[in-house]
Symmetry: C2
Subunit: 373 residues, 2 copies
Amino acid sequence: MEHMYLDYNATTPAAPEVVEEMAPYQRDRFGNPSSGHWYGRQTKAAVARGRDQVASLLGCSPAEIVFTGGGSEANNHAVKGPAWADRGRGDHIITSSVEHPAIVNPCRWLEGQGFRVTWLPVDGYGMVDPGGVEDAITDKTILVTIMHANNEVGTIQPVAAIGEIARERGVPFHTDAAQSVGKIPVRVDELKVDLLTVAAHKLYGPKGVGALYVREGTVLESLIHGAGHENGRRAGTENVAGIAGLGRACELAAVSPEERMRDLARLRDEFQQMLEDQVGEVLLNGHPEERLPNTLNVSFPGINAAGLLDRIPEICASTGSACHHGSQTLSPVLEAMGIGAERGFGAVRFSIGRWTSREELERAAQLIGERLR
Amino acid sequence: MEHMYLDYNATTPAAPEVVEEMAPYQRDRFGNPSSGHWYGRQTKAAVARGRDQVASLLGCSPAEIVFTGGGSEANNHAVKGPAWADRGRGDHIITSSVEHPAIVNPCRWLEGQGFRVTWLPVDGYGMVDPGGVEDAITDKTILVTIMHANNEVGTIQPVAAIGEIARERGVPFHTDAAQSVGKIPVRVDELKVDLLTVAAHKLYGPKGVGALYVREGTVLESLIHGAGHENGRRAGTENVAGIAGLGRACELAAVSPEERMRDLARLRDEFQQMLEDQVGEVLLNGHPEERLPNTLNVSFPGINAAGLLDRIPEICASTGSACHHGSQTLSPVLEAMGIGAERGFGAVRFSIGRWTSREELERAAQLIGERLR
């Protein structure tokens, strides 16, 4: 059976260039970057190069990059770090109702520790209103954290506008850019962010490594204390191969991004047309324009999407619901967008990427058509 | 120049078998283990197999293994997790004065958060007295954390005796086994521990992955909150390749461990003799018998070890001091053992492993002899 991978927002295959870059650090160049001797110097240089590559993509200084064990760790660090460091100054955090669980759950945990969290609503496209951030900021606000692009529907938030407001009010601003880095331009100064999360495995890098951008002067406590790695901000022997891979992935992401965006968006929109040719109208979830170029979240009216995908195992995609103990629950993102259960349970997220072909999408649309006609 | 790697306690090269095990998950089998489709099922199975392999080495249930981004993360989780979960019950932690920074600094940070920490002394061999643990436990004690084997001098702590005491008093007991797993038998029931740290890159596995053993029923808060990975105990897309590699490394570590221990200890002791044949008496730091079989920490009287190694770049080993802004500071471990500056600054840690040859050690001893004679 030929499987069609249409789930690039869940994870991406590592690029061949990335795998090649990592190879020497998996066996021959194995030294601990903290070691002062020959073996250590080799890998210290590799970590420095990876840091330069990530910084170059984001438009920041290498010293502002902290390597982590992944996007979830970076998000936890970005939320808890300012909270612990700044508790004397305030106890209020502003976030949105469509964030990834790695933002939602650190915020909930901090609520249990006595912090107050404002959960901003979104409109029907999943978009946060910057005015809502402005209204929510108080003199006790120590962090605003709003994602760059939503993982489920692809909606791109007005991050620069929010950053402008946060900066005027002197509040640190974090964005979870796990889904946007490598898909659309992500430059920390244009976005006006102080903290930004990167997850390597979402941009053709390896799993188990990520980065947190920390603007110079941003005060945050460590999440993982220990030896002095990462300028004392994140302890633990560096994942040298992973960092080399993330660095290379960032370098690749910088190559003709506009062209790749345009091609992906065209392919995605063609796919939507193929689906409509097969089954009639589908309902688009997420913003029609302000959206990741690779993401198509559509509801098939009157259809249970989980059941549909179960019956077409060739199509590897995600649904807008989770199954727990045999009962379906609607995704909190679709719920926050005001999408009801019927439409929500009919939602499929197709997310395409570097190796998605037109033929694959035609075949996928055809299989869905055969099932639904 | 031929470099002799005598720094296996800093990090180990990944075993060829480990690299081979990881390869398919770096490119072809790339699915997110959380995905319900074909790609996800492949990697979900790989994570489950890795979990079985780690559990088998430690003698625990697979459900008691939490994969982490490394040993430092596991240590932070083991220290802060019980502290946060049990704050209502108590605020007292017992540890030793020879722990790794990834234990020391989380404990210090908790002191800043209002916890009290007892820093137990060690004897001249770097050994903790179990009686000291017994005396220090109060009804406010929520955690005892004592390392299994010391990274610098190799001294093996009386963990089972301490575990017996902690268990009688109903206090959770953690051991940082980053340096012992793969070098000596580590079985959670024999050691009577509730929490235990594993770092893959210390046992011929990859960097950037580790594990925390959590005995069933042990109460601890998460360090990284988010989605429900690792049974809700550690959020983040699994480092599938890393987990597969750690699993394979654990499987390899289970093959004739007694024979490997005996061979390594013999080679190490021969090396000590070679050194003494070259330069006269050297002073052994650490316990003569209760010691990792691969570790030889010796002081060359009247010699500055950092300067010595600088002049013999072929020898890749560690010293008992760190250099900060041009001034040398003695390692806190040697200091806690009552080893003064002169002897401490003369200390070199040689740590050998799977690919260390007798010829290599002979050459190293000869080079040191030539420098010191």
